[in-house]
């Protein structure tokens, strides 16, 4: 069953026509990898799902419900978490305050789920270490960790993440892979955009490849990994 | 040739080019096309505002410095002429002395202001300049022995450019050839020269660096530009041009006072014109100043017609009453921000580039 479905989505940004009929299905409970070269339209697809840009044609359905025309807060309230490409860190706020805002059900820091926080701290030690620091002062990688931590501070049904591994040290990438693995096991559906093919192959259940504003391939990760020729032709890379 | 005169910054839109030509021709032949003292006053005010607004655009549009102290320099220019003409009499030397002195004062002040702009956040700077400008205005009205206080100064200029001077008894094409006409053409030439000079400056390598600083000061410094030097230079240049515009105003009016050249109202008008015209395009000042000054000068007359027409709808005629013309200026402000986010010039250029 598909939790999220895009069919024939066209998106314009100002005068530019960016997405030219994207068809994409995200199966429930699975981790879908969205791949593609720079400028293929991956970020635009994610933003269209979140309602940050609106599709001019086609539809986006979540859990059977049409969300194409909905506003971002309403879409997010359907229990979706999103990590944007630029991370969306509130740099004037402390790390704690950043996390508190993401924890929608908590009124103050004391109400945040402790065990979950502990889990996050273990994965991303920097988040704990800089708990009361302004987030703007974090290093590039630390910000990336905070951005992902924010998305997982409370359980969500769908997690949409734009290039989480960029700028992370290998050890932390490993932690992140673990984290997504655990989340997946707990039943969360995940949509990931990634350039790090290694990362992609270790996590992905299904894969979709974009080019020029369209999805040009989709299928299971296993077949994709096995078929070097396909990878070569789609991504222009050999492993 | 024309292209070089325009420093290779052509209008890049047919409509815009047509508009500019219309404005320039209109101003060049204003005394003959639009007879009457009022029309000529409006045309002269347009000339002054074109220079003033273009000089502000150098600061705001090209350098990204929001300053409310720009009218301060405008006022300095106007007071320079006014004070020297009052003290030294109606001679050309007096004008030269006044101009020189006011340029010197502006130079020093703007240098300080420019340096200061680097120290504080942009929005802070804007509000501080607001306070400084208002203090300067109060100062000008306090030093009444010197500046004439609230009442301002009325003064005489050389006979040659005064209305009472007649070149010939015979009117030419229905227009009397007097000192006022000469004065107008003096302003016209000054405005053309100053605008072309500004156009050259913004299209020089220097101008490009200013734009870069506006976009990302941090990075401009990192690729090797001394931001301090560029910003201060821009601030000083823009102040000097504003001073010249102020002198033009004083020469035309043969009067100056705090409300005429220093008021916050003028500052806001200038800001609005920059936005209506299109920030970061010198042509925007030409188009914007013309549109705005003409609209402002004739709005009351227009409303008179409007309220007469609406006389059977009492509430509408109250709003359309010429007494409430400022209401419509306010509406104009709001609407122009709504509908001209990139200004007239920006709009026309995008349209042309499609």
């Amino acid at each position: 069953m598909n939790l999220l479905e895009l069919s024939g989505v066209h998106t314009h940004i100002g005068a530019y026509h960016i997405l030219h009929g994207v068809d994409l299905a995200i199966p429930k409970g699975q981790l879908t990898m969205l791949l593609g070269r720079n400028g293929a339209g991956k970020t635009t697809t994610l933003r269209t799902i979140m309602g940050l840009w609106h599709a001019s044609q086609g539809s986006v359905r979540f859990g059977g419900k049409d969300i194409t025309a909905m506003q971002t807060p309403q879409i997010a309230a359907l229990n979706i978490a999103y990590v944007p490409e630029n991370m969306g860190i509130f740099s004037d706020l402390t790390v704690k305050e950043n996390m508190l805002l993401a924890a929608r059900s908590a009124k103050n820091a004391a109400q945040m789920d402790d065990t979950r926080l502990k889990w996050i701290f273990k994965l991303f030690p920097a988040v704990e270490k800089f708990w009361n620091h302004p987030a703007g002062k974090l290093s590039g990688g630390q910000k990336q960790m905070l951005a992902v931590s924010r998305a997982i501070v409370e359980p969500r049904e769908l997690l949409i993440v734009d290039e989480p591994s960029k700028g992370l040290a290998p050890a932390i990438i490993n932690n992140m892979i673990d984290a997504f693995g655990e989340l997946k096991r707990s039943g969360v559906t995940i949509l990931l955009v990634e350039q790090n093919i290694n990362f992609a192959q270790r996590l992905g259940d299904t894969v979709a490849v974009m080019d020029n504003g369209r999805v040009v391939h989709s299928g299971s990760m296993a077949t994709f990994s096995a078929d070097a020729e396909l990878q070569q032709s789609l991504l222009g890379l050999a492993l | 040739m024309l292209k070089r005169l325009l420093s290779d910054d052509t209008p890049r839109s047919r409509v815009l080019a047509a508009l500019l030509i219309a404005v320039v021709l209109g101003l060049a032949f204003a005394p003959f096309i639009f007879p009457g003292v009022k029309a000529l006053s409006v045309a002269a005010k347009v000339l002054v505002f074109i220079v003033l607004v273009a000089s502000f655009d150098l600061l705001l549009g090209y350098t990204g410095i929001v300053s409310f102290a720009h009218t301060m320099f405008f006022g300095i220019g106007a007071y320079g002429i006014a004070i020297s003409a009052t003290r030294l009499g109606a001679g050309w030397e007096a004008m030269a002395v006044g101009l020189g002195a006011s340029l010197a004062v502006s130079l020093v002040l703007s240098f300080a202001v420019g340096l200061f702009s680097l120290r504080v956040r942009a929005i802070f700077f804007a509000m501080i300049t607001l306070a400084v400008a208002s203090a300067f205005q109060t100062l000008a009205s306090q030093l009444s022995d010197f500046t004439g206080g609230e009442d301002g100064l009325t003064f005489k200029l050389p006979e040659l450019i005064s209305p009472s001077f007649e070149f010939s008894e015979e009117p030419f094409l229905g227009v009397s050839l007097d000192g006022r006409l000469l004065c107008y053409y003096m302003l016209f030439v000054a405005a053309v020269v100053l605008v072309l000079a500004l156009l050259r400056i913004v299209n020089s390598p220097f101008g490009r660096v200013l734009q870069a600083i506006r976009e990302n000061e941090f990075r401009a410094e990192a690729i090797g530009y001394r931001v301090v030097v560029y910003r201060t230079t821009a601030a000083v240049l823009s102040a000097l041009f504003a001073t010249l515009a102020g002198a033009m105003l004083a020469i035309w009016l043969r009067y100056n006072g705090p409300d005429t050249s220093l008021s916050f109202e003028i500052m806001v008008d200038v800001l609005l014109i920059v936005v209506i015209g299109g920030m970061g395009t010198v042509y925007g000042s030409v188009v914007g100043a013309t549109l705005f000054v003409v609209a402002q000068s004739y709005l009351q007359d227009l409303l008179k017609l409007g309220s007469a027409a609406a006389s059977d709808l009492p509430w509408l005629s109250v709003l359309l009453s010429p007494d409430r013309w400022l209401l419509w200026v306010g509406v104009l402000y709001v609407l122009s921000v709504y509908y001209f986010p990139t200004g007239v010039v920006g709009r026309l250029r995008t349209r042309a580039s499609r």
Partner: protein
């Protein structure tokens, strides 16, 4: 969490007062000046609080703040005029029964007007300071003209109710009763604001929304409603301030708001653009400074505010309580 409150700015107010004591010479004169200055500062704080709130939380530089001030003051002339029996009665209770509704109505109406203002004037220009300046100046012009349409262009008297006019004496220093009332109102406003902003998530949310609106929405919050709410509160505070200021001046003119604009800007710059506590300190300093310099060096009084601001900025270029690195 570590509690590292920055207490140094708090010393500015007593510091200034002590320095003035040395120069003033007479204790009773100093006391009069100080009490009057502090009370004046409270009134200024009330009018500035809304402005700094809207700027600090929403990053909107509202040149139109003055319109709400004027609007509040004018409404008060109407309300108090309508209840002049009570306002001029010789009983504090009755006076309050006239004044409190006047304050509430001014706040409600200014708040409602604020909602309209947000919708039609401010909304298109979030995040663009320059356009905010322009469009809100447009709003001011429209507002002032509408006030002239409704109430006429002439100056209108606005006298404080009987029980609040006149003076009381304390240690030989005359204190206008009205100023005492203003201090009470100011304290209520400050306490209310400080509590809301530090104890609830609302403050956080809005600060975050200013930086990255899209992200706040992506977290599932309806930032738009919140912004409207804040703007309404800021405007309501301006309306309240307008009544207080009008009663202090004892008259209103359509330009009443524009007249205090520069003063308000100085106060919130000193305070650190957006900090409520900072605005309070700034307002008290300005109030005191005006009285001390007016007594000691009247020639300089005109520039005392600017000098004060420059002095503070040399010490802390972002104001006493910088809110952010925006």
């Amino acid at each position: 969490m570590k509690f590292d409150f920055d207490w140094k700015p708090l010393l500015l107010v007593p510091g200034l007062a002590l320095i003035a004591l040395v120069f003033t010479g007479s204790f009773s004169t100093w006391l009069t000046l100080t009490i009057a200055g502090l009370a004046m500062g409270m009134i200024i704080f009330i009018i500035a609080s809304g402005l700094t709130l809207v700027f600090g939380l929403m990053d909107v530089l509202n040149f139109g703040h003055g319109v709400f001030i004027a609007f509040g003051a004018y409404l008060a002339t109407t309300v108090l005029g309508g209840m002049s029996d009570w306002a001029t009665a010789d009983s504090l209770a009755r006076n309050l029964m006239a004044l409190v509704p006047a304050l509430l109505i001014a706040m409600l109406a200014a708040g409602a007007l604020g909602v309209l203002f947000e919708r039609f004037i401010v909304r298109p220009v979030y995040g663009q300071h320059l356009k905010q300046i322009l469009i809100t100046v447009g709003g001011v012009i429209i507002g002032e003209e509408l006030i002239k349409v409704i109430w006429g262009p002439a100056q209108l008297p606005l006298l404080p109710p009987t029980a609040m006019s006149g003076t009381v004496f304390w240690l030989g220093a005359p204190i206008e009763k009205y100023r005492l009332f203003a201090v009470a109102v100011g304290i209520v406003v400050f306490a209310g604001l400080a509590w809301t902003l530090s104890r609830t998530k609302v403050g956080l949310l809005i600060r975050a929304g200013v930086q990255d609106r899209e992200m706040v929405e992506s977290l599932g919050y309806r930032i738009r409603r919140l912004f409207i709410g804040i703007f309404a509160i800021g405007s309501a505070l301006a309306g309240l301030g307008g009544v207080m200021w009008g009663l202090f001046q004892q008259s209103v003119v359509p330009q009443i708001g524009a007249q205090v604009n520069v003063l308000l800007f100085i106060v919130i710059i000193i305070g650190g653009l957006g900090s409520t506590g900072g605005a309070l300190i700034g307002a008290l300093l300005v109030g005191l400074m005006a009285n001390y310099s007016g007594f000691l060096l009247p020639k300089l009084a005109l520039f005392s505010n600017i000098l004060l601001m420059v002095g503070i900025l040399l010490w802390r270029p972002q104001g006493v309580y910088p809110v952010s690195s925006r």
